[in-house]
């Protein structure tokens, strides 16, 4: 526990700067484009930091860092995906086309871009509703991550921590729109970068050097608990046994689910539409790559190495120290291993990580419900009561997120993130990729892909993937069995089944239906 007055003053200063940036966003917001896509004039570095800070939430640091504490450094493959797919491929291949098409079609949200490319209000409305319904799950676990750290560091009641975080973020998102969100994200990104850099350096120093630290962790292989060893765990510096349940969870759910799912994240894709030219996107890559390395690369390495630290000091592995709740591994490690001043810095790092992701989620959920679902789908483009519905949408989704943060079970952070990313990949990725790269893709193909991707993913979660199907109990209730399929199928993540299926359906239906008119394609692609 650290000195509360010191931390209080620092947090207060931090919050004052956040509010100042929120005000700045509010003042600069004059038109709908400002609120939705920051007027399309965002600076490249702000874009990069905002994209990175939104991408990396407390769930990446606390949840996945904790998962690395349990599963080991195999999670570094996710960091590789985060950098190569999440930054390089996302910005270079998806970013530029998204920006251009968004501008040509005057789209201000991710569902609107898809809806206009395929001339379908249904696509926009359905996508908006899907985001409005499922993103609260993701926002809920981001809240858990932030609140857990506040709880362990300040000794504040967890419930109070959840409410505090929510109220502060909601205030500047509702008033300042995406400009406020991105400005505050950028500042938060800087805090996160410094915090994680220091965390890495101190961890290696504490364990006697880079190679020494890794060697100490390798030497702990015999200490893997029997329950994990039976699942395929081969030590914290080795990949799990190929084909084992832990291998499938690591590779299909965590590495692929989150690693690929990032391409179709609505709150990230909309950011490509906030800059005025491709140069800004190119420059953003320069900052984005190292930023993500410092986030997930460091979180997964330090999460794994926490085992060596706890073994040296307490004779226990991290999961045992955290009493089985992997979400507590990183907070416990920071509090036990780091000097008090760093705990304060890291507290801000995590607060920043939680707030930057939450603000974007609230913004995306609100615009999905108010703009995409209500205005474009229900009111067929009329302005109607859009502003109030957007606010109501933000309020409702925030409420659901808070309720979820109270009721979700322990060790849920990494898995719930993966569920949301996987669902987005299945529902949106084939359609989004087709929208940008494949003019032959038709409206019918896109709709079929959206529906098949969504429901195949949900079906697999509810009836086959044991980790969700068993606790949900729907399959048991209807069919009297925990899962419809058995064996390895029950550990294969929905993304591996639903996304390819949606892609095949997209191609097949597109070829079976009438091509989009050349005139419209010219409008979309510009030539």
């Amino acid at each position: 526990m650290i000195s509360t007055p010191v931390l209080g003053v620092i947090v207060l200063i931090y919050l004052m700067i956040i509010f100042y940036l929120g005000m700045l966003g509010y003042k600069k917001t004059k038109e709908i484009d400002d609120y939705m896509v920051a007027g399309r004039h965002i600076n490249p570095y702000i874009l990069a930091l905002s994209y990175g800070a939104t991408f990396i939430s407390t769930s990446a640091i606390i949840g996945f860092g904790g998962a690395a504490g349990a599963l080991g450094m195999g999670l570094l493959w996710l960091a590789v995906m985060n950098i190569i797919v999440g930054i390089l491929i996302a910005f270079v291949f998806f970013g530029s086309r998204t920006r251009r098409m968004g501008l040509r079609l005057k789209a201000v949200t991710f569902p609107e871009l898809l809806g206009r490319r395929f001339q379908s209000r249904f696509i926009q409305g359905f996508s908006g509703a899907l985001i409005g319904i499922f993103m609260p799950l993701y926002a809920g676990i981001v809240l858990i991550g932030g609140a857990r750290f506040v709880e362990t560091t300040l000794g504040i009641n967890y419930d109070v921590a959840v409410l505090l975080l929510t109220v502060i973020v909601a205030a500047y998102v509702i008033t300042g729109g995406l400009i406020a969100v991105m400005y505050t994200d950028a500042l938060q990104g800087v805090f996160m970068f410094i915090g994680m850099l220091v965390l890495l350096a101190l961890t290696y120093v504490k364990l006697g050097g880079i190679a020494e630290a890794h060697q100490a962790l390798t030497a702990m292989t015999p200490l893997v608990p029997d329950s994990l060893a039976a699942g395929g765990h081969m030590g914290w510096t080795a990949m799990p046994a190929f084909g084992s349940p832990i291998w499938w969870t690591l590779v299909s759910t965590l590495i692929l689910g989150v690693g690929v799912g990032v391409l179709a994240q609505p709150q990230l894709a909309v950011r490509f539409m906030t800059v005025e030219n491709d140069r800004a996107l190119n420059r953003a890559v320069l900052v984005g790559g190292p930023f993500i390395l410092m986030m997930t690369g460091v979180a997964f390495t330090v999460g794994s190495l926490s085992n060596a630290f706890f073994y040296n000091t307490e004779g226990l592995i991290s999961v045992a120290v955290a009493k089985g709740n992997t979400d507590l591994i990183i907070p416990q490690y920071i509090n036990s291993a780091m000097p008090e001043t760093f705990v304060i810095l890291f507290m801000l790092t995590l607060l920043a990580a939680a707030m930057s992701t939450l603000s974007s989620q609230y913004h995306t959920m609100g615009t999905s419900i108010g703009h995409d679902f209500y205005r474009q789908f229900i009111k067929r483009g009329e302005v109607g009561n859009t502003v109030n519905i957007t606010r109501l949408g933000i309020a409702t989704t925030i409420l659901i997120s808070v309720i979820l943060a109270y009721i979700l079970p322990i060790s849920i952070i990494a898995r719930a993130t993966a569920i949301f990313f996987g669902l987005c990949a299945a529902a949106f990725l084939p359609m989004y990729a087709g929208a940008l790269f494949w003019p032959r893709m038709t409206r019918e193909g896109a709709i079929a892909s959206l529906i098949v991707g969504t429901f195949a993913s949900l079906f697999w979660l509810g009836f086959v993937h044991a980790k969700e199907a068993v606790p949900l109990g729907i399959c048991k209730f209807i069919f009297g069995t925990d899962t419809l399929l058995t064996g390895t199928w029950t550990v294969v993540d929905p993304i591996l089944v639903a996304t390819p299926l949606a892609a095949v359906v997209a191609v097949a239906v597109s070829y079976m239906t009438k091509p989009t008119s050349t005139e419209h394609l010219k409008k979309c692609y510009g030539k």
Binding site: I83, T218, A238, N282, R283, V285, G289, P290
Partner: protein
């Protein structure tokens, strides 16, 4: 390498760093590309 025996892990460790460096190289090489702001509509 780096105190890690399993090549599947140390390759990932190195790829993370290489990936970040590639991003930096790309950003520098393309520093002034794509300056035009207008697109035909």
């Amino acid at each position: 390498m780096l105190g890690i025996e399993d090549p599947k892990i140390w390759i990932a460790y190195i790829l993370c760093i290489a990936g970040a460096i590639s991003c930096m190289i790309y950003g520098i090489m393309k520093w002034n590309d794509g300056e035009e702001t207008e697109v035909c509509s």
